[in-house]
Amino acid sequence: MKPAPFEYAAPESVEEVLELLGEHGEEAKVLAGGQSLGPLLNMRLATPGVLVDINRVEGLSYLRSGDDVLAVGALARQRSIERSISIPRRWPLLHQAAPYIGHVAIRNRGTICGSLAHADPAAELPAVAVALGARLRIRGARGEREVEAGDFFVNYMTTDLAPDELLLEARFPPLPPRTGTSWKEVARRHGDFALVGVAAVVTLARDGRCERVRLVYTGVAPTPFEAGDAEEMLSGESPTQELFGEAAERAARDCEPGSDVHASAAYRRHLVRVLTKRALGEAVRRAREEG
């Protein structure tokens, strides 16, 4: 099995990358970790004319947490989340979700920004980015712009990126105090794409009520699905099992899962119910420990 023929370029600067993308437009595809693109190429589900390999560009592999924001360069590997000292403490949701991304050898190559740009609705990192309110720095020939993760994912494997733009950096803001997070998912086998996954981010007020809740799901819509009404139900309320159940019910009703060979829509809704309750429970417990 081999990919259809393509032209290959390995530029060494961001400027050269942008030049190539500008020149070849829709025909070009950026190769970062290649852990999603590789299979698509091998199976010829994708047949780009030009592969722009960014792995030779210096200075894009960083994870920087010097200021309050975690800045993730375009080539930072997913494995680096697991090796970071500051991420488990300050951006725990990333650390909680990372072990579910493929396997070690996949995370050794796969990049964080690549997963966002690929925008598979079953992938963990897009949902995590939306739940954490990440901002994405995008550079093109016309200059640089920043987009919120919530606005970045447009449709199934489709983002706001223009063909001549590069996702340069993802920026994760700090969590507010008294905030707990949780990642829960169900996959047929560990490391497979999840049938359903959920990110919960809960900030408690000083009196113990929920101040702000975010619930973002994979696998139940063409893009990461934020259960806005369920979040709203929890806001300002005391976190109780009963309320978690009602919010879970609401999220299960509002999401739009499809049926496929792996699971029916009804089963995916069932998973939304179960996982929402578990994730909320864990996030609240962790928020109290932060307290």
């Binding site: 023929p5 190539l20 852990q35 590789g38 070690v104 996949i106 050794n108 190559r109 490391g191």
Partner: protein, 161 residues
Amino acid sequence: MMERRRTIRLTVNGTRYEREVEVRKTLADFLRYDLGLKGTHVGCEHGVCGACTVMLGDASVRSCILYAVQADGQEVLTVEGLSSPEGPLHPLQQAFHEHHGLQCGFCTPGFLMSALELLAEKQNPGEEEIREALSGNLCRCTGYEGIVEAVRAADRTWDRG
């Protein structure tokens, strides 16, 4: 510069090679067809089964979804690099042999490379850690008990100092 063919220089199991390759050639195919190193096995060819796992620098990678051109200038270690044909087996290989860590052997090269990465980084890993490290490798005949046992044994016998 854009190309369909490219000359690459890389080190595989300590030997330096220079070859011209088609840019779409996977690292797995390059190792097998161009260098004749057929110990790296090709199973699913889309990054799921783990049979093609090799070390690229210090990290395990799937050689079926990496292109040979991406290994240009780097160091690759395959199962052939674990021990020489004349010499004794690598402690990991010896442990797989002793603890029934293989049956048909198709998946074994991948398991060995994943286990190598784990043990190179970690002394005395727990059973959960071993299973997690091997979770990206599929075995369809032995079952995993013997494999986990072999990795545990190799952890004791492999002098990594």
